[in-house]
Symmetry: C3
Subunit: 260 residues, 3 copies
């Protein structure tokens, strides 16, 4: 009983996601379907890649993760199936799959070239329906990835900014803003391993926060707080509020964590 | 293992859709449920009908499609089950089911009159829960449509504007705007069959586009383009942007495709 | 085949709900999952509690209802499993579960203390993933609630305003505004049992409505109407429109139903 997840920027207002599910269930009636999200910002490949990176570890081994954030649909970008130690990633080769497929975990990459697995006729505007959904159905039915196309050597990798440790400070950047307005940075918990978290000072824009705490409940309602969030990354939050709105910060803004 | 799809204007903020699913699964525990969309504009029967028309062909034969966009709930409009060559449509008789049930494909129409299949007591405000969900559950359990009520001769049909071909031009109209801001017209690909697509000129409002292309990727980012979209209809799009926002056009606006 | 519903304020933009589903399906692959809603306003415990109260009766006996609206995550509020005559409720002890668990229907309350059932490591910011999802999976696999922690005597109960009947009038309050803009009050149909509904006058703000009707279709398009809605409560609606927008009323506002 194969499990298939779906991640797109299609939104839920139109039937596009439902149509993909119809295609999958027509060809793999036993497949279990789970939505990760369909509200990735239109064409926001980085957000989609972050979602896959942080969600896929919580699914059973062998899960098929289909992702379609695909501004280049109909152009020359390749459709891929990436096999990792955790499962299978299916989507366009534009970086979307790359953060969930670190090089050490990639077992194989297939360029999806065998049109017998696609819908026919195939549009040039909706490969979610015509390419990725039927390929996912084939995988869910047990077709080995290698049967779907030709081996490839690499995939497009996103250039995600890395945090830097310098004398007395770690500098990073806001990568993702969630629905609550929490601002997730690129600074991992591991970067704080040898530090006294209570004595750190986080600066971002005009915000200055003392200490990196364990939970939002460490401060009173309405107050800002820096925490290590559920993705293992330093986050800026406002308890029971939106850090994004209250602090005037957003994706791309810099943060600086001063030590001692 | 019956497959049941759901299409409503209930939104996902309230538990109405979840409640319908509870009713279905209480009576048909093996049913598979798929959401087409619940974000049809409130009472926008045309949008719901278009969604059904373009999504139902991608589902397995025999799928039960429940649709509730029902401004007349509690009034005199009939609840229907329409059997087509593709599957079963369940919903109010207000035109919502009509585009997915072209006359040549209708096998039978049942006016849902047998209250033994409804929830009791039955509200006059939420037939999705009290009428359509339990009827869908009965169908999912194998109850033949004819057992659910009385045969009917017809259903309410929407008056969708048709494109016109005149000397030197095809005139049509924007029918649907999707989440990306793509504007889907009523001009089908078949209307272009004998034409040189590269030499057509599409005019809508103050927009003039040359050629009807294969994909969004035919133009550079930010540029408008006319394509044949995934529904087999001529669409106006802006690559990586919103045609609706950028071109100042919306549902109902006219388009004119000039030949030669 | 256990049925698990999910109710949160996580929204659908981020993968948080999908991650919870991954955790559940990793540990209980046969579980059926149904979303009630994930668009509870951030930290709006009352709205979440009302959703549970009005949705859970439509699910099969024994359904596991997981709810996470949890402003106190990481603080001292207890994680609970409440067993009722209808099913199992899993979530934080902040009132969220209380309206679906009236005292007469509570069979047992378990303080979820056994960390062997949680994810490890466990964050202090996302107990939906780390505590409530794996506990739901354990329940779905047949683990008895008592095995998950220590019996508790009570749960936090929300202080929901009650309607009052006085000489010649019933006074109440708007409790919930739905997606259509219908305003649901706390006045139950039972409060009208001995009254002539056609002769009642409902006053709220500057709105005066005559009669409490059976359906929205009792008035013409655009007109306001008082009905008994699908939750068995008096509602203010505008046919094919939004009472919230048109009447300038919202959650918390008072209503007065004058008799005779």
């Amino acid at each position: 009983m194969a499990l298939v997840t779906l991640t797109t920027d299609f939104g839920l207002r139109d039937p596009f996601v439902g149509i993909m599910k119809g295609v999958i269930l027509s060809r793999a009636p036993q497949a279990r379907l789970v939505d990760l999200t369909h509200d990735i910002g239109p064409q926001d490949v980085l957000a989609g890649a972050l979602v896959l990176r942080h969600a896929t570890p919580y699914f059973p081994a062998g899960t098929i993760h289909v992702a379609v954030v695909d501004p280049g649909v109909g152009g020359s970008r390749r459709p891929l199936c990436v096999e990792t130690t955790a499962g299978l990633l299916v989507g366009p080769d534009n970086g979307l799959l790359s953060l969930a497929a670190p090089p050490a975990e990639v077992r194989g990459i297939i360029h999806l070239t065998d049109e017998r697995f696609f819908l026919s006729p195939r549009s040039a505007t909706f490969h979610g329906r015509d390419v990725f959904a039927p390929v996912a159905a084939a995988l869910a039915c047990g077709t080995p990835p290698a049967a779907l196309g030709a081996p490839a050597d690499d995939l497009v990798r996103l250039d995600v900014p890395e945090p830097h440790r310098e004398a007395g400070a770690i500098t990073g950047r806001v990568l993702y803003a969630d629905h609550f307005g929490n601002l997730v940075t690129n600074v991992p918990e591991s970067a704080l391993a040898d530090l006294d978290r209570g004595r750190l000072t986080l600066r971002a824009g005009s915000t200055v926060l003392t200490g990196i705490h364990g939970s939002y409940a460490s401060v009173a309602t309405g107050h800002p707080v820096a925490v290590v969030g559920s993705w293992g990354l330093v986050e800026l939050a406002v308890r029971d509020g939106s850090a994004r709105a209250a602090l005037g910060l957003d994706v791309g803004d810099g943060v600086r964590i001063e030590i001692g």
